[in-house]
């Protein structure tokens, strides 16, 4: 074959290869534009306490251009149900799942299994497991700090002297890591202040209603450490069934704010759930994007609200995220 003919075939082959490569890149970029799918599994997903969280997820999904789906769940979520939902979402092609871990002995094992198939992000600590020592990426408020701050606010109101005061503590999910941390933070501050914790109980779903609290021994303060407990206590107080106890609590729903606004609750510590949603999804999307991504643990702030400062600009924005 003549030299120039060889050269001609070579040039054509090189140009042809370049066309194919460009077409391939073009098609791949088009496919990449479709984005990831991220599912979110939290207990009682339709509850108002998740409004800010959902809004944060939605905003992050828009910013990161991913598809976000909130899995609908009932008022309680068992470990078996959560496992089933995770499997179902993985099967449906979710690239990542944001999970509120339910308390239970095998939660970590279950999550480990799930993380083998898809990226997992938690919005709460999974229960400690002696056998499985795995760290999952977590985005959550500092529960211990919030408990501590709530106790400090209580102390501040009474000049640091709670001698002879009786307290009743109402927790959310039994045995949940967040509830344990909050209570720990709260009780540690109140040590040696003379306050007496008369009772400490969990507000279970079957105990809904005010009867449950009414039946409790009379106390000076009811400390509600999660949104459900706080709204229950608020309702009770609004109905004047709390024997004049003053409520301090942690909450993140408009109901909680309403009870503070109406005076049923004295002080409210509000975790920035918008940021929990926003940061968890952003981190997860980054993690899916790059397999070598090192998850950060963003600092989630909280706001101390009282009736007097309820409508200052900063708090209005917090309420705005809850009202979405």
């Amino acid at each position: 074959m003549k030299k120039d003919k060889k050269m001609f075939i070579l040039i054509e082959a090189v140009l042809g290869t370049m066309v194919i490569i460009l077409a391939f890149i073009m098609l791949r970029e088009k496919n990449e534009e479709q984005g990831y799918q991220i599912s979110v599994i939290v207990e009682n997903s339709d509850d108002k306490q998740w409004s800010a969280f959902k809004y944060g997820l939605k905003m992050a999904a828009e910013d990161k251009e991913v598809e976000m789906a909130m899995v609908s769940t009932g008022t309680t979520l068992s470990q078996a149900e959560e496992k089933k939902l995770i499997e179902q979402e993985t099967k449906n092609g979710a690239d990542g799942i944001i999970i509120q871990p339910v308390p239970g002995a095998n939660t970590k094992r279950m999550l480990k299994k799930a993380s083998g198939k898809t990226e997992v992000m938690l919005i709460g600590d999974a229960p400690q497991d002696a056998e499985e020592k795995i760290e999952f990426p977590v985005v959550q408020p500092d529960h211990y700090e919030m408990g501590k701050v709530l106790a400090e606010e209580l102390l501040k109101d009474y000049g640091g002297n709670l001698e002879g005061k009786k307290l009743g503590i109402l927790e959310g999910e039994e045995n949940s890591e967040s509830a344990i941390s909050r209570e720990k933070g709260f009780t540690e501050v109140l040590q040696n202040t003379g306050a007496e914790i008369v009772w400490s109980d969990t507000k279970k779903a079957e105990n809904d209603g005010t009867d449950f609290l009414e039946s409790k021994p009379e106390v000076d303060f009811v400390i509600a450490l999660d949104d459900n407990s706080l709204t229950a206590a608020g309702e009770c107080a609004a109905a004047n069934n709390l024997h004049g106890a003053i409520i301090y609590g942690i909450g993140n729903s408009t109901e909680a704010v309403y009870f503070l606004d109406t005076g049923a609750v004295e002080c409210l510590v509000v975790p920035d759930m918008f940021n929990v949603g926003y940061q968890s999804l952003t981190e997860l999307a980054n993690g899916i994007d790059k397999s070598s991504y090192k998850y950060k643990r963003p600092q989630i702030s909280y706001t101390i609200m009282r009736k007097e400062n309820l409508f200052v600009k900063e708090n209005q924005e917090v309420i705005f995220t809850m009202s979405q």
């Binding site: 460009l22 890149i25 073009m26 944060g56 408009t254 309403y258 309820l310 309420i319 705005f320």
Partner: protein, 611 residues
């Protein structure tokens, strides 16, 4: 250094015409295509950019108009409540009318309204629509809308969005509203007093409008801020207040309506500003430069693919064209090479007119070269042949035998003097015949040779004829081909005077005429007819009856080979009158140099000019 590169560049020069044509075509066409592609892309991207900005502007104008219409309607509600309901009625006596008037307006605009409320100058609620329980202590007088209304009593005031903090909502919800407040004059129990009329607009109406235009997810977005730069609506409002996202709202709000270029957080962007009437709010459209590229990425790839495909096509076309142009030239070149290698004598003729012409010319010149070569070969052969003939004539055995026999007879007849004379004449004849192997000798020598020959012949023929040499002396020193007179004399004896008794006469003359030498041999013998004369110089195959066998043809051709075609023999004859054969040669002086030149085959004209 420069030379080195130049040399390298020279080495790179393609050697084949096809490669050169293809390379030149490809470079020109591909660079033109690239330039065209870049220009087209730039024009396209510019017009796309302009269109994006125009679309943004139009969309913003439309949204601005919608928003103005909405705010206008709110103003109208406020006006209607004030002028048609509050101002017309006394609160003491017409409470019912006021309530129903307000209710009517509220019901008609329920979708956009949260509430209509009227407060007195102490901040106490006079009436509200929809009727709702007021909060325990909303502290109305310290709320911004109230303060602003009281500050500038003659104006209406639009607030930034805020949570309505006035009524107890049984649904435990909090609503975002924009408050339109103004100071009004009302009559209570006939006493005029002032109050503040508050129309709370549902923020969702405005946020819906903004969401609608923010749906395009290509990096472009729109936000709303008041004249101080405080954000009214932003798609990333919470992210901004949380410090996750930044906006240049303080600066953007200071712009007047128009399009601005700015760099914010290291990003180039275009900002389109549109002011909303009544409120002084600014509707701001932000187009990051990356938005322009968003849709262009695919177009870039597309253009690149198109250019590559066109290049592929051009390479094919260029190859076809260059092949078509160069193919005849290459074929011609190939056939010439073949010819040079001695393989094929046919020259390729084809392709365009010019190439065909070239082919014809080359073919023709090759044919001519062939002919000339053949001619040269023929001439050389002839020359050799005639020289051989001349040589043969010098030692013609018959002549030699006859002469030697005559000498023998003379010696036997004791005619010793005659024998000596004969031998000395023969010796001279041979000396000149040999002439050291020279072809060209002087006329003097040639005449000497002729005389010796005639002396021998005269004795042989017993002086039956007479010979006269009538030569001008000046011709002696010119050049001549050797042994040209002898065949002439031989012919004169054999065909002319040989058979005559005593009256035979041969005259040899030599003259110089201008630049020619004419040597002539005349006899008064039998002569020839015209036909015979015509054959003497043309028919070389004539059978010689007598003599050395070297005909006049041979003499003629030897003269012409040496001196040129214009010279040679001229035969004139009349039957029974005699024959005259003239030799015509150029007058070339006999020198060693001229001799050598002539012997090498160069023709010298009488003027000394060499060909």
């Amino acid at each position: 250094m420069k030379n080195k590169y130049f040399r390298q560049l020279k080495q790179l020069k393609p050697r084949e015409i096809q490669t050169t044509i293809m390379l030149a075509f490809s470079v020109v066409s591909i660079s033109m295509m690239l330039v065209l592609g870049v220009i087209l892309y730039m024009r396209f991207s510019n017009s796309a950019r302009e269109e994006t900005i125009n679309n943004t502007q139009k969309l913003m104008e439309q949204t601005g108009e919608n928003m103005e219409a909405y705010l206008m309607s709110m103003r109208q509600i406020s006006d209607t409540v004030y002028y048609n309901v509050i101002k017309e009625n006394d609160f003491e006596s017409h409470k019912q009318e006021i309530q129903s008037g307000m209710n009517l307006l509220y019901e008609a605009n329920k979708e956009n309204l949260r509430s209509i409320a009227l407060y007195n100058d102490y901040g106490s609620l006079i009436t509200a629509e929809p009727v709702a329980a007021q909060k325990e202590d909303p502290d109305v007088t310290s709320q911004e809308w109230y303060l602003k209304a009281m500050e500038e009593m003659e104006n209406m005031h639009f607030s930034t969005p805020h949570i309505q903090n006035l009524f107890n909502d049984t649904a435990q919800s909090y609503y975002w509203v924009i408050s339109l407040s103004r100071v009004v004059e009302l009559t209570n129990q006939g006493i005029p007093q002032s109050g503040v009329l508050l129309v709370d607009m549902d923020f969702s109406s405005i946020s819906r409008m903004m969401k609608q235009i923010n749906e395009v997810n290509n990096g472009q977005y729109y936000y709303l801020c008041d004249s101080n730069g405080d954000i009214v609506y932003h798609p990333r409002q919470i992210q901004i207040s949380d410090g996750i996202y930044d906006e240049n709202n303080k600066r953007d709000s200071a712009y007047k309506d128009g399009i601005y270029d700015e760099v914010f957080n290291g990003e180039n962007r275009k900002v389109v500003v549109n002011t909303i009437s009544y409120t002084g709010w600014k509707l701001i459209g932000v187009i990051p430069y990356s938005t322009f590229n968003h849709g262009m990425v695919n177009i870039r790839y597309f253009v690149a693919i198109l250019i590559l495909l066109m290049t592929m096509m051009l390479v094919v076309i260029n190859r076809v064209v260059s092949l078509r142009i160069s193919s005849p030239i290459l074929k011609l070149n190939y056939s010439v090479r073949e010819y040079e290698a001695g393989k094929k004598p046919e020259i390729y003729i084809g392709g365009s007119q010019e190439i065909r012409h070239l082919g014809y010319s080359i073919q023709k010149s090759y044919e001519q070269i062939d002919d000339l070569m053949k001619k040269i070969v023929l001439e050389q052969t002839e020359r050799r042949k005639s020289e051989l003939d001349a040589l043969q004539s010098q030692i013609h055995p018959h002549f030699l035998y006859n002469t030697l026999e005559s000498i023998t007879w003379m010696i036997e007849g004791e005619k010793n003097d005659e024998a000596v004379f004969m031998i000395s004449q023969l010796a001279r004849l041979f000396r000149i015949s040999l002439s050291k192997g020279r072809t060209v000798i002087s006329i003097k020598d040639e005449l000497q040779h002729a005389q010796s020959y005639m002396n021998i012949q005269k004795i042989r023929y017993k002086n039956s004829f007479s010979v006269t040499f009538d030569i001008d002396e000046e011709v002696y020193s010119y050049c001549t081909v050797k042994l040209i007179l002898q065949p002439l004399l031989e012919n004169a004896i054999n065909y002319g005077v040989g058979g005559m008794e005593d009256s035979g006469e041969i005259v040899v003359t030599g003259r110089k005429q201008e630049d020619k030498i004419i040597l002539a041999v005349c006899d008064n013998g039998l002569g020839m007819s015209e036909e015979e004369v015509a054959l003497v110089l043309t028919d070389s195959n004539r059978i010689h009856k007598h003599g050395s066998g070297v005909g006049l043809v041979n003499v003629n051709s030897r003269i012409q080979i040496l001196f040129g075609k214009e010279y040679g023999l001229l035969v004139e004859s009349e039957p029974d009158e005699g024959t005259r054969v003239s030799i015509c040669i150029p007058a070339v002086p006999y020198t060693e140099e001229n001799r050598k030149t002539l012997e090498k085959g160069h023709i010298i004209k009488s003027t000394g000019e060499r060909e």
